[in-house]
């Protein structure tokens, strides 16, 4: 079973505020003036406003659209409480995103009349807990792939059940992009092989897929076209460690000022490094992306020979990547920066380094993390981040109130 909240952020805001119900609403991140729509209400979607659309474009489509600043505490609360609800139906619950989860109810189905009864009961529990305006659509199928595929077919507040009788009919009526895992680039590559539909994918020789995509991806594509997936729902007690950690930030103002860009890079690096240490992990692969004012993205990444987790070591590598990128983009103004860490592994007892300076940095980072945990994020920051957008805003707010 795949459960997917409908227009999640927007529905939550409309539940919290009756004066914006039945109206076009978009939810943005930290900036209402210059931002993108993280979510659009169903009324906004009907007018053609889409998720990830810039606010100014949404206002061009609908000048009366209501722009609401997102409140992450609400969404996180709903996600956590939802998982508790789902756990009353099965212990095999796997959150997929903040507004989606998979449930494996095959072993608990016998406690209910049928699958429709479970779905209906879950929807009622959600309504009683959060309010009638927050709804979800449920897809049921023989595996996660199919369940996720069909939860989208009858939105909002829908229920779609797939069994062996209707599986083929469902597969013939969807597009390649409807599959989770097939995006624009994979679709283009399939098109180059003469595959334009699920039917084509079912009938193409698997060896051609192996040649183009490799054995793993090739098998996935072939199996997907047949409605087959072996991916199971993970048990809720299993804590899955992340495979990558990243942060991105859209600058309040486009700039080519190297000092400001580097301050923001240092701030993002401090954020990802803190999260890395919190997960008790180290990294051996670091990436930096920059998007310029023409919305063209440039990225560089590097694998390093040892695993690291301190701010100064990671920043040293990120700065090397930045110097490479800065030379490439040739003084264009920058609007977005992202820092990512991958190639992660759990920390063992091996020290990062035997050099006293590195040991000092490790202790410094541990102390900074402890202070920030106790007194709040960014209670203490490194001086090289003071010109960063988010650090600057905090300082301005403090000055405003004194």
């Amino acid at each position: 079973m795949h459960i997917d909240y409908d227009s999640f952020f927007a529905s939550v805001e409309q539940q919290a505020n009756p004066f914006i119900r039945n109206k076009p609403v978009i939810v943005t991140g930290s900036s209402i003036r210059k931002g993108i729509a993280c979510a659009a209400s169903k009324e906004a979607k009907k007018l053609g406003i889409k998720t990830a659309m810039p606010v100014f474009k949404a206002k061009q489509i609908c000048p009366n659209v209501i722009v609401v600043k997102g409140d992450g505490t609400k969404y996180t609360y709903i996600q956590q409480e939802s998982l508790k609800i789902f756990n009353t139906y099965t212990d095999l619950v796997e959150p997929f995103s903040i507004d989606e989860a998979f449930l494996d109810v095959s072993s608990t189905l016998s406690f209910f009349d049928n699958i429709e009864a479970i779905a209906s009961s879950i929807k009622n529990d959600i309504k009683n807990k959060f309010g009638a305006y927050i709804t979800c659509s449920i897809g049921v199928g023989p595996n996660k792939l199919i369940a996720k595929l069909v939860s989208d077919l009858k939105k909002p507040n829908g229920l779609f059940i797939v069994n062996k009788d209707n599986l083929q009919e469902v597969l013939q009526n969807i597009t390649l992009r409807d599959f989770c895992g097939i995006g624009h680039k994979i679709e283009m590559r399939l098109n180059r092989l003469g595959v334009y539909s699920v039917f084509d994918l079912q009938n193409i020789d698997i060896n051609i897929l192996y040649t183009e995509f490799g054995n793993v991806a090739g098998s996935f594509l072939k199996n997907a076209s047949l409605g087959i997936s072996y991916d199971t729902v993970a048990h809720t007690s299993i804590k899955i460690k992340p495979k990558s950690i990243s942060h991105q930030h859209t600058l309040y103002k486009n700039t080519k000022n190297k000092t400001i860009i580097k301050a923001n890079i240092a701030h993002l690096t401090a954020m990802v490094a803190a999260r890395l240490r919190k997960q008790n992990m180290k990294t051996a692969k670091i990436a930096l992306w920059i998007r310029d004012k023409d919305k063209i993205s440039h990225g560089e990444n590097i694998s390093i020979s040892r695993y690291i987790d301190t701010n100064h070591e990671i920043l040293h590598v990120v700065n090397i990547l930045f110097n490479k990128l800065y030379a490439k983009i040739k003084l264009k103004e920058i609007r977005l920066i992202a820092v990512g860490l991958s190639g992660l592994k759990i920390k063992d007892n091996t020290p990062n380094s035997i050099f006293s300076e590195d040991v000092k940095q490790e202790k410094l980072n541990q102390t900074i993390d402890t202070i920030n945990e106790k007194f709040g994020k960014f209670s203490i920051v490194q001086a090289n981040t003071l010109l960063a957008d988010t650090t600057k805003t905090k300082i301005s707010s403090f000055l405003k109130h004194t």
Partner: protein, 100 residues
């Protein structure tokens, strides 16, 4: 239109079936009777747990926050329905709101 307020308020609540139910609150010497509680959620920071209540009168939506550690209620934010703004809301004698 959303207006950020962040001011301490006095409030009347009842405790019903293990839940906190806000009834009315006083802000800028005016009492506001709550007609609907639309959404309640909990947030955490490193120090504390907070309860947030999205409540409304006939014309206005209010976001209230309760800090149980300090026993403090805050009016975080107001949203005005159409045709209403902060001035008209403060001077509105209808909707069971009255000056003390």
């Amino acid at each position: 239109m959303y207006e950020c307020i962040n001011e301490t308020i006095d409030i009347t609540v009842c405790f019903n079936n293990k839940k906190i139910v806000p009834i009315s609150f006083i802000w800028k010497n005016k009492e506001y009777i709550i007609k609907e509680i639309n959404f309640v959620h909990i947030s955490y920071d490193e120090k504390n747990k907070y309860y947030h209540f999205a409540v409304s009168t006939d014309t206005t939506n209010y976001k209230l926050k309760f800090d149980p550690k300090n026993i403090k209620w805050t009016l975080e934010e107001i949203f005005f329905g159409e045709g209403i703004n902060l001035y008209t809301s403060l001077n509105d004698k209808s909707n069971n709101a009255y000056r003390l």
